[in-house]
Amino acid sequence: MDELINLKNVRKVYRMGDEKIVALNDINLTIYREEFVCLLGTSGSGKSTLLNLMAGLEKPTKGEIIIGKHHIEKMNEKQLAKFRQLHIGFVFQSYNLIPTLSALENVSLSLTFRGVPKKVREKMAKEMLVAVGLGNRLRHKPSEMSGGQQQRVSIARAFVGNPEIVFADEPTGNLDTKTTIEVMDLITDMAREHKQTLIIVTHDPEIAPYGDRIIHLRDGSIEKIVQNKKKEDYA
């Protein structure tokens, strides 16, 4: 098994005036290539902070975060932007689509920043939207779509550049049960199909069993790690 992400003694402290809030305390964690990890915890457990740190959206107060051979914590804004552009896809709870752009444009946006020519990226985006079942919604704006459809667009956007890692922060938080199952099946299938590493943050214990490994977080520390499926099964 290839180690992909390595966290060593990661600590994150927020300052609120004079008060220090320890969001993450001495996290040591290894995530493997093509693994599907669930970060499970209640609100305030530090699960979202952990995801943000791994995605390079925030800097740790202490410790090392190594993805592949890259030290994320040492990168500057410019390098991080490039790194995210090439290696990371995102799915958010609130979809975070750009309201003025159509589904097709939203999906192809990240490719735009990579400098992919219009024809190529629209073809890629279209294929991806077809794959998530929105082949008939290409020209629709987010406001013209249901929550589930918007989340599919957002999934298509996360996967379109074929990133090595996809992060999903409460991807089903705004969805009903039926749609939740559809969306989760979609994400996991896509990740498996493209041999991607998937890291999902959730507070919903019903989602957690989708993961190969469930990491329980409480008060900024890893409470326990549950091996859901045998490593051999997904390797």
Partner: protein, 442 residues
Amino acid sequence: MNRIDLIRMGLKNLWRRKLRTFLTILGVLIGTSSIIVMLSIGFGMQESYMGMLSRMGDLTTINVYKGYGGGYMDASSGRKSNEVKLNDEAIENFKNIPHVVAATPLVETWGMIVSGKNMAYVTLKGIDPNSMQHFEYKIAEGRLLEPGDNLAVVFGGGMRYNFYNERDLKRGIYTPPDVDLMNDRMVFTFDTSGGYPAMPGEQRPRYKEYNLKVVGVLQEGNWDTDYSVFMPIDTVQKMIKEKEKAENYPQQNKSKDNEYETALVKVDSIDHVEEVQQVITDSGYNAYSLSDSLKEMKKMSSTIQAVLGGIGAISLLVAAIGITNTMVMSIYERTKEIGIMKVIGASIRDIKRLFLFESALIGLLGGIFGIGMSFLLSFGLNHFGSGFFMNVGFEPGSKISIIPIWVVFAALAFSTFIGILSGYYPARRAMKLSAIEAIRTE
């Protein structure tokens, strides 16, 4: 992010907020066009003065007069110590000053030309026929003086109006002169009595009559030459001597040194007039050229332009603040969008370029429409405003507002630059937005 996508995205963002973009562009339009129109009035003024001056004479000709030195006398000789002579040698020296094209002495005398029933009082100007072609005498008919000419003359363009019919005038009738300058017989005499009988006891000198051969007529419209008659200098000098003889004028020993009162020096371009004039005055002569007035005029018109341009600049400054305001507003609105773009891989450079492009485009569009507006206003001023502006020193018939082509390009570049400058602060703000915080804003 490649350039086409940047442009496409920027245009789309501006189009999304049509009204606000339009209003901001309108601000730049007003700013740009007020600067251009204000400047164009300054250029119009300059042009009008230039026209006036060039009608007063040739801008690249320096008139040189005999120097009267500093004014102190050398006690031993009784002469002014630094008096310089304006003689043939001096003329040769003038010709050797860099940028001088030609130099000629100028001798003037006065008399009368009779042509049939018509006559005219004239100023005869003797100049060097070799150099006449170098001075800006614009010929209308015939040719200029050439070496070898003797009793040849070139008439100024306004000379035809100088002739009148003495007999008709005595009877109280004025008939417009009917003179063919080129072909009628012209006789010059120093006798200016016009045919009046001599007073009893008056001894009149017996002047010679000279049959003139008219070789050319100059164009009209130059106050300096219109009423002059040009002749080769040697002929004029000879005529003066004959006149003095007829008048029993005591012979002066001047003739041996051949000194002149005046000389003309022609300079290759208007930019060198001042320099050449300085050299001439430094060697002790008095010199005057129209560029003296031109210099004053330029100083004045650049002051006026600075004031007018300044007024225009204020409105462009207001427009620049407008751009900044629009872009800052747009950041507030698009905070979340900027956050999303950053998270999915937009580099800070992309964000900066996008904002700078949008503000530059506002500047450029404002500049383009502003130029269009300026031409409209300029046209309006030139066609309907002449009545008013004539009163404040404009020449009749001259344009009030002139927009040189370089101003068009300068205005485009400047308005775009203002756009970029105004967008710089908002762009930096957008760059510095924390992606994670931006994405959380609703």
